[in-house]
Amino acid sequence: MAARDFRLTPSPFRYARPSNLNEAVTLLRDRHTDIRILAGGQSLIPLLAQRIVRPHLVIDINRIADLDQIVPCHDHIRMGALVRQEQARVSSVVRTEVPGLSEALDWVASPVIRARGTVVGNLVANAPGTELPAVALALGARFVVRDTRGERQVDAAELLGLGCRLAPDALVTQVLWPRNPGRGGFYEVARRLGHAPVVGAMVSIGSDRCRVGLCGVAAVGLACPTVADALYRRFPAAPDLAEIDRLLARDLREPAFGTDFVGAEYRRRVAPVVIQRALASAAAAGAGRH
C-alpha cells in the first residue's frame, strides 16, 4: 500500500450538475484528464476523500430525469444509471426475470449503502472481487454507452474484463439484463459476515441455459460457462465438489488473484464450495419459476 498521510477530505474540484444527458456528455468532452461521474457516490466518495483520485471535475448526474427506471423490454430488463441497488433488489420484475441478480444484491454492502449506491455505478467501478461485475459478465449484460457521437451498446466483457475501461468521454446510461426467467442463487464467503466479499458465486438457472458467475478468484469477475453447462445438464442433481473443481479449472483463464489479506490459494480452494452453495440456493428458490 502506498504511503500516505491524507486526512479524509477531498482535494479541490469543480462541480457540475447537468439536468440532461446532452449536457452531461458535452461536459465529458472537456480535455481535462480526470473527470468523475457522481451517481450513488458510495464507491467514488471514499476515493475522493482519501485523495486516491483527484479529478478536476465531478459531474453529478443525480438530477437527470428518467435514469431511475427499471423497464421491462421484449428481451431484456433495462435499468437506468440512477437505479439504486436497493431499488433493484426489491424489484419483483428483476427477481422474476433476471434470476441471480436480486440474490446477489442481497449480499452487496449493507442496507444504507444500497439505498444510495447505484447498480451501474457499482458495475462501472468494477472493484476487484465485488459481486455485481461477475453477475453482469455471467448473465451477458450489455451497457448503453453515450458520448457526444451518440449512443451504442457494449457487451459487459468489453467494459468489465481485465484491463478494460470506459472511455473518458463516455457515460453509461443504462444496463440491459437479458430476460431468462428461472431460479437464481448467490453465496459468498467473507472475512466476516457482511464484510467485503472474498469469493462469491451466482448461479442462474433459466429455461434454456444456466449461467454461473464468480467473483474473487480473478481480478475481474468471471463467467464460468463450463461449470454452467454442466450444472444445467444435471439439474436438479448437483455435481460433487471435485467435479465442480475440475470444471472450474477449465473456465479459469485469468491469472490467480490474491490480496494482502486473503491469498489466491484459499480463493481457488473455496470457489467450488461457494458455487455448490449458490446452486443449492438456486435450487431451493421459490414458487413462480419455470
Binding site: 498521510d5 486526512r7 472475512r191 466476516r192 494482502d260 473455496v270
Partner: protein
Amino acid sequence: MTGSATVFGQRRRRREDAPLLTGTARYLADLIEPDMAVMRVIRSNHAHARIACIDFATVARQPECLGFLSAAELPPDLGRLPAFDLCESSAAIHHPVLAGDVARYAGQPIAIVLARDAYTAEDLAELVRVDYEPLAPVMTVDDALRPHAPRLYPELGSNVVHETTQLVGDPEFAFAAAATGVGAVIIEQDFAFPRVMASSMEMRGAIARLEADTGRYLVHSSTQVPQVLRDELARITGLPRERLRVIAPAIGGGFGAKESIYPEEVLVLLAAMRFDLTVCWTEDRVESVTATVHGREEHLRIRAAVHENGIVTALEADCLADIGGAYALLSNTPGAAIATLRGPYRIANFRSRTRSVVTNKTPLNVYRGAGYPQATLAMERILDVAAARLGLDRAEIRRRNLLQPEEFPVDRGVDYPGCPNIVFDSGDFPACLESTLEAIDYTNFATRRAAATTGNALGIGLSFVVEMTASGPAEPARLRLRADGRLELLSGITPIGQGSETTILQILAAHLRVSEDALVFRAGDTDLAPDAPGTFASRGATMGGNAAVAAGTAFVTAARALLAELREVPLEHIVWDGGLLVEQNGHNQPMTLQALCELARSAGIDPLERLDAHAVFPDSGIAHASGCHAAVVSVDTATGIVHVLDYAVTHDCGRVANPLLVDGQIMGGVVQGLGTALFEALRYDANGLPLARGFAEYVLPTAATAPRFALRHIETPSPLNPLGMKGAGEAGCTGAAAAIVNAVADALAPFGVELGCGPFSPDHVHELLYKDPSPC
C-alpha cells in the same frame, strides 16, 4: 432527599444516557468552533529514515497558512514525551514531540501546519516537502534481536530496552523430574500474538486555547487521564501547573488507547502558545492507524511440566514484546503477561522472563487487558493440550490445578511494577468453574456435538481469568454542598463510556442513604479534581466508589460538626440519617441540610465553605477479579468460517454495585476478544507500512459476531476495600480469545491440526484443515 442503602446492587439505568441518545452530548469534535485554527500533522511515511530536510518554503507563501512548526522551530529546552516505565532497570529513552533527525515509525509526527479549516489544512500539508534518507527498517522482534540489526537507539547498544524476570519455587528441579518421571509430559508451545488496534469509534482530538481573563491555557483532550496530561504538559512546556487546565469532554471509548500522552496533545498547546491562536486537532481514521498506540503484539514461548495426574508442576515462559519505535509504557503489557501467567492455577514452580524490544512500528501500549489476554490464552491452551495428551477431561484438569478458596489469601510469589507482592485477595475459582460448566451445559455437549449437521464441526473451549484490578495510586474525591441544595461529587474518574457516573453515585447514594437525585457527578476537569490518576486498569468503579464513600463520610462528619458547633453540643449527639441531621436527646426536629445552611448563615458562618469535604482512598493493593469463560463454536469446515454460538461467563468482581453495567462491560469485552480471536490483526508490509487504512482492511466484529450470552455472578468480596468491590472492565476481553481458541481447537481436533493463537479467519482455518501434513 432520603434514599436507601439497597440501591447498591441494583440494575439502575444510566443517568448519563439522555444526551448520548439525543445526540446532544459534546465530544471533543463538537467543541470546535469556526474561528479555531485547525492543526494538521505531517507524518513520516517511512518506517525508519533520517530526516534530511523539511521544506516549508511553498507552504509559507500560502496566505491560508497560519503557521507551521518542525522540531527545528521548537524551544530547545522543550521536554520529551513521558515514558511511564515503572521499572528501574529499563532504558531511559524519551521520545521527542516532533521527530528531529530520525523517524522511527511510519506515522511519527514530523511537522505541523495550521489553517482555518480541515480541508485547507490538508492542502497545506501536501505542500510541505520532507526529504528522507531511508534506513533499513526493523520490523519484527526477530529482526531486532539479530546480532547486526540496526539499532533504533544507537546510544543504547541494543534494541532490548527492558527486561524483568520472575522466579517461584524450583522450576529447574520440577522440569528435570518431569523429564525422567513416568507418565509426565512436557509441553512446549509458541504463541505469536498479532498487533491490534483499540478502534474506539471516537478517534482522538485536542484543543488548546488561552483564556484571556485568567491567562491560563485550557486544553481539551479526548483522554482517559486529564490530570496526568496536565502535569505532563506542564513538565514538557515549562508552563507552571497553575497555568494549565485540562478538560476531558464526553469520550467515545478509550480502551486504554487514550491513556498515553500523545505528541498531538502537546502540539496543539505549543501551537497555541507560539501563534497566539486557539488550535484544534482531530484525528481521522487513516491517520489513526499509525498515530494511535497499538496493543498486544508479543511472542510468548511456554514450557510446562505436567504430571500424569494433570497437575502442572512447573511453568516457564519467555516473552518478547514488540513495543514499536517509541514508548510510553514499555513494560506494562509484557510485564502483566508474565506476572499473571499462571492465572488461578497453583503451579508451584514458575519462572519467566520478559523483554521489550523496539521496532520501527507505532508505539505499543495497553489495550483492554494489556498482557492478560495473551497470558490467559497461553495458559489455557497448555491445559487443553495437556488434557488431550493425558486423556483427561478439560474441566477436570482445571479442577485439579485450581487454587481452593481456603487457600486465600494467596501470595503468588511474583511481583509487578508498583506491586512488590502479588497476593490474590479473595476468590472462589472452583465455584466459577462449576457455574460456567452448568451455564454452557457442559455435560450434554457430547450429544450436541454428535447432532451437529454434516460439515459443521462443533467445539467447546474453556478459559479462566484472574485479573488485577482496582490499582492505585490513591484516589481522591471531594463532596460538597451546592447552592441548589444538591451534593456534588468531584471525582477523579474520567468516564469513557462505562457508566462511571451512575455506578459511583449509586455507591455514594447507598452509603449516605440519600436519593440519587440529590447527587451531582462532575469529573474530567483538573479544576475540579486537580490530582487524580485517571481511568485505566479496571479501577474506576472500585477506587472511584471507595473514594466517594470516603468523601461522603468526611462530608457527614463536617455536617454533624457544623450543627454540633451551632447547637453547642458534642459531635456524638448529632447523627446523620439519610440526609437529615438528628439531634440525640434534643428537642429539635431532624434538620435538613438546607435548614442547616440557614442556621449557619444566621450565625455568620458560610455553610458552603464548611460543607466541602475532601478525602483520599489509599492504594490498598490489587483486588483480583476472576471468572470462568466457556464458548461453543461451530466451524464450517468447507469454508473455514467460525461461528460463535454460545458464550457463558461466571464472573467474580466482588460486590457488584450495578449488575446491568457490569454485564455490559463483560459482553462488550467478550466481543472485543472475539474480534481478536477471529478477525483482528494489523500487519505491515515489507517497507514497514501498515496494511490497513481503516475498517475496510482491519475487520471489526459486528452484530453478526455476537453469540448468545449466559452471564452469571459470584461475589467474593475483596477484603482490601470497604466496599468489597473489584473491577470488571477488562475481564470479558481477557478470557474471550482463550475460550475461542480452545473451542476451535476442540472442533478441529478430529482433523489433527495444531493451532497457534489466531486470528481464525476463514482462510487461516482452511489452511489448518487442508494444508499437507508434515511428515512425522
